[in-house]
């Protein structure tokens, strides 16, 4: 439809303020969504990395036979969820404890006996950190006779999962709220664009333009404005990402799929808001 396209482009030229404002609105709202996207993506990455460090520790009896221990170590390493199994001797454990206790280190210097047991540190494969899986590994490791106790930070794992779920819910709520606000603002901008051109629209209808003919340029204009706004928002988001990423934290850029979705969302937002405003307002002219 070359006419509608020509008109839509002409609208940019005729009312640059109005069009600029709409694009700014869309870009502002998508910009916020973009920042949120970066935050969400990076929080997810951090959680994943933290999750990877979840491990199962099996404390061994002091009277465990070395060859049985070595056998068990190999056996546990073949569990489908397990990446590697490290054997920590009593001496190594004392050394680690000293390092971790820091200030109170001198305390151990005075000990006559080493109170710490030997242990297996069982590391899990990526993607096998669901609470059920971790529990299963812990149970099987605990079944060995010479294993005194198994620890695997159950509360911690539950907390991470809770955090992820809370973060997901927050993303939905905040993202939805911002999208709603963006729609409202764009709708208002389009309504104002139509308001500013109400004489024009009235005249169009007087010379026999159908509703579709009148609407099409507005819809196309809304779409292009939305796309423009989304592109702007993307640029801003990227700028902020570069500034933050260098100076403050180590951040990852959002996945490419999200970027494309953002552009599409801009266009859809623009055309949707235009359609709603045009349809509602045309009745009143």
């Amino acid at each position: 439809m070359p006419y509608a396209l020509r008109e839509a482009l002409a609208a940019f030229r005729r009312t640059p303020v109005l069009t600029g404002l709409s694009a700014t609105m869309i870009s502002l709202s998508l910009f916020v969504v973009g920042l949120f996207g970066i935050a969400a993506h990076n929080i997810r990455r951090v959680l994943e990395r933290v999750e990877e460090r979840v491990e199962v520790v099996a404390y061994l009896r002091d009277d465990a036979r070395p060859d049985a221990v070595r056998l068990a170590q190999n056996e546990i390493a073949t569990f489908p969820e397990v990446r590697e199994v490290l054997y920590i001797s009593r001496e190594q454990a004392l050394e680690l404890a000293k390092q971790e206790l820091g200030e109170l280190r001198s305390l151990f210097g005075e000990l006559e006996v080493n109170p710490l047991p030997a242990s297996f540190e069982i590391r899990l494969k990526a993607g096998h950190h669901r609470p059920e899986e971790v529990q299963a590994v812990a149970q099987r490791a605990g079944a060995y006779a010479f294993v005194e106790e198994v620890r695997y930070g159950r509360e911690w794992l539950d907390k991470i999962y809770l955090l992820r779920r809370v973060a997901g819910a927050a993303a939905l709520v905040i993202g939805g709220a911002f999208a709603a606000v963006a729609m409202l603002i764009i709708g208002a901008a389009v309504r104002m664009a139509i308001f500013a051109r109400r004489d024009e629209i009235a005249i169009m209808r007087l010379v026999g333009a159908t509703d579709g003919f009148v609407q099409r340029p507005f819809l196309l204009e809304g779409f292009l404005t939305g796309l423009l706004g989304a592109a702007l928002a993307l640029s801003f988001t990227f700028l902020v990402y570069r500034i933050l990423s260098g100076a403050v934290f180590q951040l990852e850029w959002i996945p490419d799929g999200w970027t494309l979705s953002g552009l599409a969302a801009g266009g859809v937002l623009g055309i949707g808001a235009s359609a709603a405003a045009v349809r509602r307002h045309l009745r009143g002219i």
């Binding site: 005249i203 169009m204 007087l206 010379v207 026999g208 159908t210 509703d211």
Partner: protein
């Protein structure tokens, strides 16, 4: 082709603008619509254009009846009606040529056809030199002539002209009137609302409808 059947039109703040008006205009007829200021002339034209609905009675135009016509049909009907509005109603952000072209674009005409036709129409109303001027850059009479050119763009079957020469000098008035006459000769019905009684007297061969306070008080066809 145009039928007013006991039509009344009442406006909230103004009372009856039209009061039980009945008349018929045939294909290819030429007809003056006269009356004092506020008599209801523009209201009659607006009803024909289906820009308003009668409060009572029925208006029929080219087979469509007021009250039954659907929005899409109104658009189609309007493409067959040329209307010179009393206040011109030009698109202020388009040049004279673009204003005339717009009436053609609406119907989906091809760009090449539009260009040729717009040039011819502007020449007919004596505005070929002002094709690229915007309404704000045109004198009152020039705007009125753009409105006339636009009304003729789609080769209408009816031309409604509301005071089309109110801002024109005698020579321009004669030119526009001659244009209307030649269009009428080619088969288009013309309804010309005016209070230029001079013009009506000079062309006494045509039918005259006279309104007074919303009532049809004289119809030269039925009385003679």
């Amino acid at each position: 082709m145009i039928l007013f059947d006991h039509v009344s039109k009442e406006y909230p703040r103004s009372g009856l603008a039209l009061n039980d008006v009945s008349f018929q205009v045939r294909k290819g007829e030429f007809c003056f619509l006269t009356g004092h200021s506020g008599a209801g002339k523009s209201t009659v034209l607006r009803l024909i254009h289906m820009a308003d609905e009668p409060t009572r009675g029925e208006v029929r135009v080219s087979g469509y009846a007021s009250g039954k016509i659907r929005p899409r049909e109104i658009s189609m009907l309007r493409r067959k009606i040329g209307y010179v509005f009393q206040d011109f109603r030009l698109l202020l952000d388009r040049s004279a040529a673009e204003n005339v072209a717009f009436a053609l674009q609406v119907t989906g005409a091809r760009a090449a056809v539009i260009r040729v036709k717009v040039g011819r129409l502007l020449a007919q109303v004596g505005l070929a030199a002002k094709a690229e001027s915007y309404p704000a850059e045109l004198s009152g009479g020039e705007q009125q002539r753009v409105a006339v050119a636009r009304a003729l763009a789609n080769d209408p079957i009816v031309l409604l002209a509301d005071e089309p020469t109110g801002n024109l000098d005698e020579r321009a008035t004669r030119g526009i009137f001659d244009l209307f006459r030649s269009i009428n000769t080619a088969g288009t019905a013309v309804i010309l609302a005016t209070h230029d009684l001079e013009l009506v007297r000079q062309n006494s061969g045509y039918r005259v409808l006279e309104l007074d306070h919303g009532a049809l008080v004289y119809d030269s066809t039925s009385s003679s």
